[in-house]
């Protein structure tokens, strides 16, 4: 349950970042620069990867 909350929060901010970036021109001089999109989405991806690996190991042990 907790990991779903963690992933949802990261996803929510990823979506928010992409939306703000896109609606402001999808460029580096916008309200959210392009590099920020890579940063936020990248951290979200890593978070999901960790949670996914955690659940994989858990199911293997069980």
């Amino acid at each position: 349950m907790m990991k779903k909350v963690g992933m949802s929060i990261a996803f929510l901010f990823s979506i928010l970042t992409v939306c703000l970036w896109y609606q402001d021109g999808a460029w580096n001089y916008g309200e959210i620069p392009t590099k920020a999109v890579f940063k936020v989405v990248g951290f979200t991806f890593l978070a999901c990867l960790c949670f996914w690996l955690q659940s994989k190991f858990r199911s293997k042990i069980n």
């Binding site: 907790m2 990991k3 963690g6 992933m7 929060i9 990261a10 901010f13 990823s14 928010l16 970042t17 703000l20 402001d24 021109g25 460029w27 580096n28 001089y29 916008g30 309200e31 959210i32 620069p33 590099k35 920020a36 940063k39 936020v40 951290f43 979200t44 890593l46 978070a47 999901c48 960790c50 949670f51 690996l53 955690q54 190991f57 858990r58 042990i61």
Partner: protein, 379 residues
């Protein structure tokens, strides 16, 4: 079990990093972060009292503008016949090299062929041409001319600053072309195409401040392409209004060039030029502060020269929370003095605007809209 916990911990850590990165990068929240992190209240919010003690009028010369302009041109350009300067080549943009080469290009070396396909999609774009110039110190540099299909008769010269290329401002340039402006864009020499930073040792040393002091006209290479480009465009097109916008070091170029060349009617230096007396550490690029030039005309004189007759104007914009430089509201301190001088000589308009919408070193949408509205209002 421990391994699972570690993975779960990292999962949470990365989730928190994702959230923090959002607030760190989003302009609206980043302003507050920058304010909290400011080492001194004088960085963004308050005016350092030492600047309040200085009288900006003391930095204005009493002589007539024609004499000051002649002296400025002579100190920057020497005996060069500025009316005769011309591009050495005018050509279409070459095709892009292979995809990988473009992908690996650094932002300092972003070349026009690699970005060509982006520009070709613009609304109202007629043609793109490259103008090549040869200047002092064996520099080969270029400018790009964006010709609109439906031309409004107005020209905008855009000059970018250090550590990047004009490609970064493509959305603003797109807006100009869509509005019918003919747009001539320059990078700071040694950035972008042609000759790159480090490849011309002498100019690189002028930028770094390590060049010998006895070079007679150390910044002439900067303005030769601007004169040549403007001469070319004015001879080929029917232009009713000439405007110039510059960011950062491009703002310095805009301030100096519009002071030297009265053909520039409206100039817009953004985040890049303060009088010498109020410049701070990161605002002291050696090439901008050459002694001969500043003895001929102070930056205050240049602001007056840029709007020295009715119909001419200069609108300066500074980013209050700029992470780099030229921040705060210091620009407001000399606004009255320049306006007063312009009133005395029957000159045009001078205004300083402060952009509080972001904490970056850029031209924001807000700032660009102010410039566009200003140019439209003066048509």
């Amino acid at each position: 079990m421990i391994f699972q916990r570690i993975l779960g911990g990292f999962g949470w850590l990365f989730s928190i990093f994702a959230v923090l990165s959002f607030f760190y990068e989003w302009d609206t929240s980043r302003i507050h972060y920058k304010k909290l992190r400011a080492k001194s209240p004088y960085l963004y919010e308050e005016i350092n009292p030492k600047y309040l003690e200085i009288e900006p009028r003391d930095y204005l010369q009493q002589g007539d503008t024609k004499t000051i302009r002649a002296s400025l041109i002579s100190s920057v350009m020497g005996d060069r016949d500025i009316k005769a300067l011309w591009p050495v080549t005018i050509q279409d943009i070459p095709d892009a090299p292979n995809f990988i080469e473009c992908l690996l290009e650094s932002k300092y070396r972003a070349s026009m062929p690699c970005h060509k396909s982006r520009y070709e999609k613009w609304a109202n774009l007629g043609k793109i041409q490259e103008l090549i110039f040869e200047t002092d110190f064996d520099l080969r540099t270029n400018a790009i001319l964006f010709k609109p299909e439906n031309f409004s008769g107005k020209l905008v010269i855009y000059h970018h600053g250090y550590a990047g290329t004009f490609h970064e401002t493509h959305r603003h340039l797109e807006k100009l072309v869509a509005a019918g402006y003919l747009v001539l864009v320059f990078n700071t020499p040694l950035y972008g195409d042609v000759v790159r930073f480090g490849e011309n040792k002498l100019i690189s040393s002028i930028y770094k401040g390590t060049a010998p002091d006895d070079i007679p006209y150390p910044t002439r290479f900067f303005f030769e392409p601007l004169f040549a480009g403007l001469n070319y465009v004015l001879s080929k097109e029917e232009i009713q209004q000439v405007n110039m916008i510059g960011l950062s070091n491009g703002a310095w170029a805009t301030a100096v060039f519009s002071a030297m060349d009265p053909r520039i009617e409206n100039s817009y230096p953004i985040a890049g030029v303060y009088p010498v007396y109020m410049r701070q550490i990161k605002e002291s690029a050696p090439a901008q502060l050459k002694k001969n030039m500043l003895e001929a005309a102070s930056f205050m004189d240049m602001f007056v020269l840029a709007a020295d007759r009715s119909g001419r104007s200069q609108l300066q914009i500074f980013n209050k929370y700029d992470r780099c430089c030229y921040n705060n509201t210091r620009g407001k301190l000399y606004e009255d003095a320049v306006q007063e001088k312009l009133g005395l000589i029957g000159g045009g308009d001078f205004q300083v605007l402060i952009d509080t919408t972001h904490p970056r070193h850029k031209i924001s949408h807000w700032a660009f809209d102010q410039v566009l509205a200003h140019m439209e209002a003066r048509s």
